[in-house]
């Protein structure tokens, strides 16, 4: 365990080498749920980023007051507050988006990424490192979400952000927008990413 990771190292780690979705397999619930379109995916990534950064900041500010057995309760309390704020702001300013995301915004509270980052990084490191780690992780999460959402939206509706990419003759794969499509796309992408990293390390196929 690197005892004193530098902020930039934590930041870069979070994006690809320790990508929360592909590498650590955290936060799969929202990843599968909101990636049937590019817009909901990006809004979710932005709100997770907001919550993650604020929660990491607050937790690392009060880290030496934490009692071991009350740790989880305090983490969830802080995260829940920021998620409610994010939810209210979204409902006030982006009402249509908050309706499409529906129940998945409050589910950010139990999103494993945030609690894991709080426990592993924020409750031990100084605020600056904790925030950079949070930023890295949320960019990694955003990348993962948009990669899955892109695949699903292009295959599912033949276009991205309403722009028709595939030829009109392309029969939309409706399954890609449905729940099974989410599982299969993430599974295949996960396999592809593992294959990529193994090829880089010259591993055995």
């Amino acid at each position: 365990m690197p005892d004193q990771p530098t902020a930039s190292e934590r930041f870069l780690q979070g994006i690809l080498p320790e990508n929360p979705v592909y590498r650590q397999l955290l936060g799969l619930c929202p990843t599968l749920a909101v990636t049937n379109g590019m817009q909901p995916a990006i809004t979710m990534a932005v709100s997770v980023a907001f919550v993650l950064v604020c929660a990491n900041l607050v937790i690392s500010l009060i880290r030496n007051l934490l009692k071991p057995h009350l740790r989880i309760v305090i983490f969830t309390l802080t995260i829940a507050t920021f998620v409610t704020i994010a939810d209210k702001v979204l409902a006030a300013y982006l009402y249509q988006m908050s309706k499409t995301l529906g129940p998945y915004i409050p589910l950010i509270i139990v999103n494993c990424i945030i609690i894991c980052r709080c426990e592993v990084c924020a409750s031990k490191q100084s605020p600056f490192i904790a925030v950079s780690d949070a930023l890295g992780q949320s960019i990694g999460f955003g990348l993962a979400l948009s990669s899955i959402a892109a695949v699903r939206e292009i295959l599912g509706t033949g276009g991205l952000f309403g722009v028709q990419l595939l030829p009109a003759a392309w029969p939309d794969w409706v399954i890609m927008v449905l729940p099974p499509g989410a599982f299969i796309t993430l599974g295949l992408l996960l396999g592809f990413v593992n294959w990529l990293s193994m090829r880089k390390k010259g591993g055995r196929i």
Partner: protein
């Protein structure tokens, strides 16, 4: 109106927090299970990776073992030196140098050394191949399909030319390959020296059966036991190296035994 709502909101949260923490506090005291406080403090120091490198089921098992039936404190490969010293301080035990705990593959036969190999078309998994008799002449040796490679999370073991070889720079001694090998020819041993001699064979048949299936198998000729009795000892038809006792100064007799071995199946392994 708004201040009153804020006031009531804060009040409800406070009320709920008081009730919940009171119940938890009461439960904490009432349901106090007498746990040796040392176990908790040891558990806090351990990295919590539950990798099994200490050959216990997980960090909590190892912490209990250390605190109650004083298991060696330096067993945690991931925690390393700092973790061992910290636990030793709690347990008031002398930490002792960290003895690296690494894996050894007791087979030295490459593909060309193995005789009687059949053309095996089944699953390319040792777990499946070991069920088929006669995949290769020797029924003890390494199958080379890499179950151990798949199980290793630290990329410390590779199948080279049909034989599993440990890469001692990456190996942290987590023991995953020991569990993965269906023929159980990988053992975890303490390396008192960076390089230690070992017998690279686990074929317990008689000499003539061994030579019919492998060019490098130990035929039980006892020469190594005679030349370096404190290092090698015979266990039935196969020689077994005494890794615990080996120290640097016994290198001469080990080298002599290595030359004398007709099958060249003893050798040095370890970090270079």
């Amino acid at each position: 109106m708004i201040e009153i709502t804020i006031g009531i909101a804060a009040g409800t949260m406070l009320g709920m927090a008081v009730i919940m923490s009171y119940i938890l506090g009461w439960a904490n005291k009432k349901f106090r299970v007498e746990v040796d406080p040392r176990v908790e403090s040891v558990l806090e120091i351990l990295p919590g990776a539950n990798c099994g490198g200490c050959s216990y089921l997980g960090c909590s098992e190892y912490a209990v073992a250390v605190a109650t039936d004083n298991a060696p404190v330096n067993r945690c490969p991931v925690g390393g030196e700092s973790c061992a010293l910290a636990i030793a301080k709690i347990m008031g035990v002398e930490a002792g140098a960290i003895i690296p705990h690494r894996a050894i593959v007791h087979c030295g036969a490459k593909k060309e050394d193995r005789l009687g190999r059949t053309e095996y078309r089944g699953e390319h998994l040792c777990a499946a191949a070991t069920l088929v008799a006669g995949v290769q002449g020797c029924t003890f040796g390494c199958l080379g399909f890499g179950d151990c490679v798949d199980s290793c999370k630290y990329d410390a073991i590779h199948v080279i030319d049909g034989l599993a070889v440990v890469d001692y720079d990456n190996c942290i001694g987590c023991g995953a390959c020991v569990k993965a090998c269906p023929r159980a020819i990988i053992t975890m041993t303490d390396f008192h020296e960076p390089q230690i001699p070992t017998v690279k064979c686990s074929n317990r048949d008689k000499g003539k059966d061994v030579t019919s299936v492998c060019n490098r198998g130990c035929i039980g000729c006892r020469i190594c036991a005679k030349t370096a009795p404190d290092l090698f000892v015979m266990n039935g038809n196969i020689a077994v190296a005494n890794h615990e006792e080996y120290r640097e100064e016994m290198g001469a007799s080990a080298l002599e035994a290595i030359e004398k071995c007709p099958k060249d199946c003893i050798g040095y392994i370890g970090m270079n």
